[in-house]
Symmetry: C2
Subunit: 202 residues, 2 copies
DNA sequence: CGGCCCTGTTACCGACCAGTAACATTTTCG
DNA sequence: CGAAAATGTTACTGGTCGGTAACAGGGCCG
């Protein structure tokens, strides 16, 4: 029943706590998840948690930071598998997001957290903001490399579609508008690709 | 400091409570808003609140229901101001959403609530779901009336862009990708309009 | 072995919060 | 007016949650 992170690998209690927290935050929300539940799911206890993190907020920040780092890793992998091919990287990126849309792990940690961290001054918000800004820069750079007509515009288009797909998945389920996300995003890329076909709608 | 709904109009306590709740839910989140705060902001008190709603959850449902009704009213107004002109209705709709993106009232109540109402069985979720389904049907109908090439596809595209713009506004602020939402959505409509110009990207 | 650092256990505190009870007050309307 | 209905006030309950204190193992390394 309870996710046992210890048996899977011999990770440190700190690691198990962070991963358990991320899982619970995704599944039940940040505010709805108590520190006792986190410690329990990590097969640890509250005291150990508070020896590694001075507060729940600090743990939240670490979770967001890790989520960002994972995305960074994914970007590097993208560059490795499709070296110097911006268009292929863009397409692979979109496809991967589409595949992970209905994962329990749907990486909407950032969006979800942004909604729940209402305090404008919450340290987590700056982590999210920094990550989103970096992501935007990355996509723009990718579009440029892919010889896209208007890199900034396609970039923003894709970012809107992606966030929209994640949000819609939450409210309307997998059968909602997000079902055609990949198709839509591919069409957008297609219509911006220089020297490609004439822009098409399907 | 505290929003005084009573002075503005002589609404019933029930009305004031619901509107105060919606405002606080939007600003601070559902879980972060206590019933005392709601009653206080409504210039009323907790007892009166509980005489009208058996629980906080019931109040949440009423808030979501009202948000849906307001949108319904907006759709009717759209039909009234642009009778039988689907394309104009679509464009006006997009423009209005763009204008309201940075309102404090950014009508992301639904999305925000969906993230925070983690219980799959929460009655509020079905209200959201029903509203989103109805909205999708409406947009599809509008696209058909506007003589759009692929009504379902444009409809889903716009819905993704809209939700994406709202979500992105939360995480990246007004200067983020959502800044060009109107431009992007208009281009999408343009490229799907039958007999219009060749699809363009700007 | 023996000390030390990390971890686990239990119990507790104070704050907050949803919801209720009993009573006082105002508003509404016949 | 006068009674009934709606609203306001205060105080309380029971539970949850973030965070802390004190103490008890337990593994690692000299």
């Amino acid at each position: 029943m309870t996710t046992d992170f210890r048996r899977k690998t011999h990770r440190s209690p700190r690691d198990r706590i962070v991963e358990a927290a991320r899982a619970l935050f995704r599944r039940n929300g940040i505010r709805a998840t108590g520190v006792d539940a986190i410690a329990g799911a990590a097969d640890s206890n509250k005291m150990t948690l508070y020896r590694h993190f001075n507060s729940k907020d600090e743990l939240i920040v670490e979770c967001l930071y890790r989520a960002g780092m994972e995305m960074d890793g994914f970007w590097q992998e993208l560059e490795r598998t499709h070296p110097d091919d911006g268009l292929a990287q863009l397409r692979t990126w979109v496809r991967r997001i589409a595949e992970h849309l209905d994962d329990d792990n749907c990486h909407c940690e950032m969006m979800s957290a942004a909604v729940q961290l209402t305090d404008e001054g919450h340290p987590g918000r700056s982590v999210i903001r920094a990550f989103k800004d970096a992501q935007r820069d990355r996509v723009v750079a990718l579009c440029r490399k892919a010889d896209i007509v208007d890199a900034e515009l396609l970039s923003d288009t894709l970012l809107l579609l992606i966030e929209g797909a994640r949000a819609t998945q939450q409210t309307s389920g997998a059968q909602g508008p997000s079902a055609r996300f990949a198709e839509i995003a591919d069409a957008a890329i297609q219509s911006f690709a220089r020297g490609g076909l004439a822009p098409k709608q399907v």
